[in-house]
């Protein structure tokens, strides 16, 4: 049971990481990255690190994501096309 849950989390982590990397819409990528951070926080809770889960949920999914979103609003949302 525990292993299955951990493996599910890991698969989710890899999938979200890949999606965040491959998405062409930067805002979408950042939101997926936020989901990645939240899953990471859950994973760390599973590894008995509640302090870090709290920190990652507040910092990784919260502050970092917002900083990214602000930066995207200040710049542009879509990745540029190949020349």
């Amino acid at each position: 049971m525990g292993t299955a849950l951990n493996l599910t989390f890991i698969v989710l982590l890899v999938v979200t990481a890949l999606l965040a990397v491959l998405a062409r819409d930067l805002l979408a990528a950042v939101i997926i990255f936020s989901a990645y951070s939240l899953i990471m926080a859950l994973m760390w809770q599973r590894l008995q690190a509640p302090d870090l889960a709290l920190t990652e949920a507040a910092v990784g999914a919260g502050v970092t994501t917002v900083l990214f979103v602000v930066a995207i609003f200040k710049t542009r949302r879509r990745e540029e096309e190949e020349e």
Partner: protein, 247 residues
């Protein structure tokens, strides 16, 4: 193409390491069996007077790392301000505030109601750091997060009046300063820098003294961290073109 090959080679190398690493979760592997951990876990409670061993390590055993850590966030603030500059003072300048997101009354009311509770929760997180998960920086990040929500709904002008620059400015360095002050206090007691306890001086009061100092440092980190995060956010949100208006 070269970079792909490089990354593949690196991955293979790392897999090779992982295959040769001690099994995870085994009580006998070097990380879990060293005497370093034993002391932290068994004596941490009485030596640092923090039931949360992680807090004990952060504030007490490895306090110098944490002092470096708070210097890093201060450094990040100085760096961002050096690159982008501070937002203008709310009273003197007004600007075309484009940071607001159009929102309905419901959202505005809910946010206005929620933010105080989020801040209350963060205060709890900071002050309860030594007995439950959480601590200074987590609480600070939560305050920062709540101000972010507030800013997106009510705009930079409004929120920079709620937490004005002249309030943030003196508090931004509070984390480093409290840490240094507490560290120097240990020196004054005849110990080393960052010593929290002097049994011969404090006597029976020592446990509560350590707890109070821990809470003091946590509060400093929380306040400093929150203010730094908010200042960084404001600095990034601020618009370039500002128009001066008569107050």
């Amino acid at each position: 193409m070269i970079s792909l090959v490089f990354i593949a080679a690196l991955f293979a190398l790392l897999l090779y390491v992982v295959a040769n690493m001690p099994p995870m979760g085994d009580p006998d592997n070097p990380t879990n069996s060293s005497e370093v951990i034993e002391r932290y876990l068994e004596k941490g409670g009485e030596e640092t007077h923090a039931d949360n061993v992680v807090t004990g390590i952060i504030i007490n055993y490895r306090g110098y790392d944490t002092m470096g850590e708070v210097t890093v966030i201060f450094c990040a603030l100085a760096a961002v301000l050096a690159v982008l500059g501070r937002e203008r003072r709310g009273r003197i300048y007004a600007y075309v505030d484009r940071s607001r997101v159009p929102s309905s009354v419901i959202v505005r009311t809910m946010v206005a109601l929620l933010v105080p509770f989020i801040i209350l929760f963060s205060v709890y997180t900071i002050l309860h750091g030594e007995i439950s998960p959480g601590g200074g920086f987590q609480g600070g990040a939560i305050v920062g997060g709540s101000m972010i929500v507030f800013t997106t709904i009510f705009g930079l002008l409004e929120s920079s009046q709620r937490i004005p620059q002249r309030l943030r400015f003196p508090l931004e360095g509070s984390a480093v300063i409290t840490f240094f002050a507490v560290g120097a206090l240990g020196l004054a007691g005849g110990g080393n820098f960052l010593t929290f306890a002097w049994p011969e001086i404090a006597g029976n009061l020592q446990p509560s003294l350590v707890v109070w100092l821990t809470v003091l440092v946590e509060t400093g980190i929380g306040l400093g961290g929150a203010m730094v995060l908010i200042s960084i956010l404001f600095s990034m949100i601020r618009e370039e073109e500002e128009i001066a208006v008569v107050p």
